[in-house]
């Protein structure tokens, strides 16, 4: 009895993976190769939504500022590339770089450090206060990025080249798509494993009942902070990929609307399931794209549509696909 939902879950996952692998050849066969780049951006936003679900779905920390980490990751790639082109040195004797093995980990490091600072302060609060403080920090970074006159101010930086990764040609949309898919699947697999580990248990315990966790003897703050930093790093990686996908980094990536989109993806797909937010990202972006093709006033349609979706599938798209399940 306990195995039936499990089977359905793995079957659904396998089918989704096959679908994802099939996207580039199918699009190419349909003569819609242009959309492969869009599909890669969907995977990248899915990675960002996944990172948000780590803190929000597992840990119950509703961050309204995750776009900040996305933006920081993008800016690290953008600034690295800008200095390669311009030749001007960076502080601390650093030079510009387009090497993915340097720039992407650096993007994760910078986003992780920002998450450490933001989390250390925000996590002293909970609930609505936490939401507002994370939003405030993201807005701060948004305006800060807009003030970087060297790097294009509000207009941002155009990448002269995509990052270089070993022998891969990342400017080829199909190659780039599969790289994004590989990273997304890897992170998803690791986080799924993590969610039932001791660390994952603590996060879910905090989400359910933080007071009880403390009474049991858990110093909850440090675990929440660790999750927040890990989440920020993953989101930073998504940002680095996003800069490559759009060959562009600008303050708009950090806008509060972007943070809101990430929240919608998580809720739409099914909070706390990790897989759900990936589906939520796909659903939201495909909806946006197709509605925008139909009419200029697509947002007027999207809003009610989201409300309907949220009402009809309370545990999100993934809850609806995998069916009922037991407690962990």
């Amino acid at each position: 009895m306990a195995h039936a939902p499990d089977f359905r879950r793995w079957l659904a996952l396998a089918l989704l993976l096959i679908l994802a692998v099939a996207v580039p050849p199918v699009l190419a066969a349909l003569g819609q190769g242009f959309y492969i780049g869009f599909a890669a951006r969907v995977l990248i936003m899915a990675l960002a939504a996944l990172s948000l679900d780590l803190v929000m779905g597992l840990g119950g920390m509703i961050s309204f500022g995750h776009a900040a980490f996305l933006g920081l990751g993008a800016y690290v790639v953008g600034i690295g590339s800008w200095h390669v082109f311009d030749g001007a040195p960076l502080p601390f004797g650093l030079a510009g770089s387009e090497n993915a093995l340097i720039v992407w980990p650096l993007a994760m490091l910078v986003a992780g450090l920002a998450a450490l600072g933001i989390g250390a302060i925000s996590l002293r609060t909970t609930g609505v206060h936490f939401i507002m403080i994370t939003l405030a920090f993201a807005q701060m970074l948004f305006f800060l990025a807009g003030g970087l006159k060297t790097y294009g101010g509000d207009d941002g930086i155009t990448l002269y080249n995509r990052s270089q990764l070993a022998g891969l040609k990342l400017s080829d949309p199909t190659t780039f798509y599969y790289l994004c898919l590989g990273l997304l699947v890897t992170v998803l697999a690791v986080l799924l494993r993590l969610s039932s580990s001791r660390f994952g248990m603590v996060l879910r315990g905090v989400r359910d009942n933080e007071r009880r966790m403390r009474a049991l003897g858990f110093p909850t703050y440090r675990y929440k902070l660790a999750a927040f930093v890990l989440s920020g790093m993953i989101c930073g990686l998504a940002g680095a990929l996003l800069a490559n996908a759009s060959e562009f980094a600008s303050p708009a990536i950090m806008s509060w609307q972007r943070s809101g989109e990430l929240l919608v993806m998580v809720v739409l797909g099914g909070m706390g399931s990790l897989i759900g937010p990936v589906l939520g990202a796909v659903a939201l972006m495909v909806l946006e794209e197709s509605l925008a093709d139909l009419t200029q006033h697509w947002q007027v349609i999207l809003g009610p549509l989201l409300v309907l979706l949220a009402l009809s599938a309370r545990r999100g798209l993934w809850g609806w696909i995998k069916g009922r399940d037991g407690a962990p």
Binding site: R204, F218, G326, A327, P328
Partner: protein, 249 residues
Amino acid sequence: MTEPLLHTSGLVKRYGGVIATHQVALAVERGHLHALIGPNGAGKSTLIGLLSGEMAADAGHIHFNGHDVTRLHVHRRARLGLARSFQITSIFKSFSVLANVVLAVQAHAGHSFRFWRPAVRDPALVGPALAALDRVGLADRRHHAAAALSHGERRQLELAMALAGDPAMLLLDEPMAGMGPEDGRAMVDLLQSLKGERTILLVEHDMDAVFQLADRISVLVYGAVIASGTPDHIRTDPEVRRAYLGEEA
């Protein structure tokens, strides 16, 4: 005379103008089942909260097992072996029964920065968790969702979670609250079996249970301890009879 396992002096807690705890000096001897009784609103839950560290005292001291724990955070006191249960059941509803207790064991099994191995399949956690579930009679319900338990079973789970960390002392806030007579009797039996094995501070309204179980009883009225002693002593104390027991008899 040996040092009590837990003792307080001059403990005070105010909520605005309300004095919920008034100059409480309480001593709980090692191995005793010490009952704390008093009318509703007397400050029993508040006192439990002060002892467990969920609330900070406005004045006074708390000593536990040779440590001055007055300023220690709640999780540090739990680690020292001071476990509590809640008057209003406080469990992890989205977890299975087993996972609830596994989490309680995990709290005492070193740090939780372990990211790979599934906790509910770790024998080092599951073993003690099953032992605690067995103790309270919930072992056969271990794979159920905690949310699906009856009220009485939740109270049992609550106790299993307190027991799981092998605490030196249990602070039990009305473990029988809202239970039917049958579950209540089972709980009394369980407490009887724990007696002597653990030091217990028990808040309870059921006077039959209290007088049957307790080695010592302290009576709290308007935040102050008005009497403390053996059940026989409390039964015959004129002030207690007037202030509290009299109105029940």
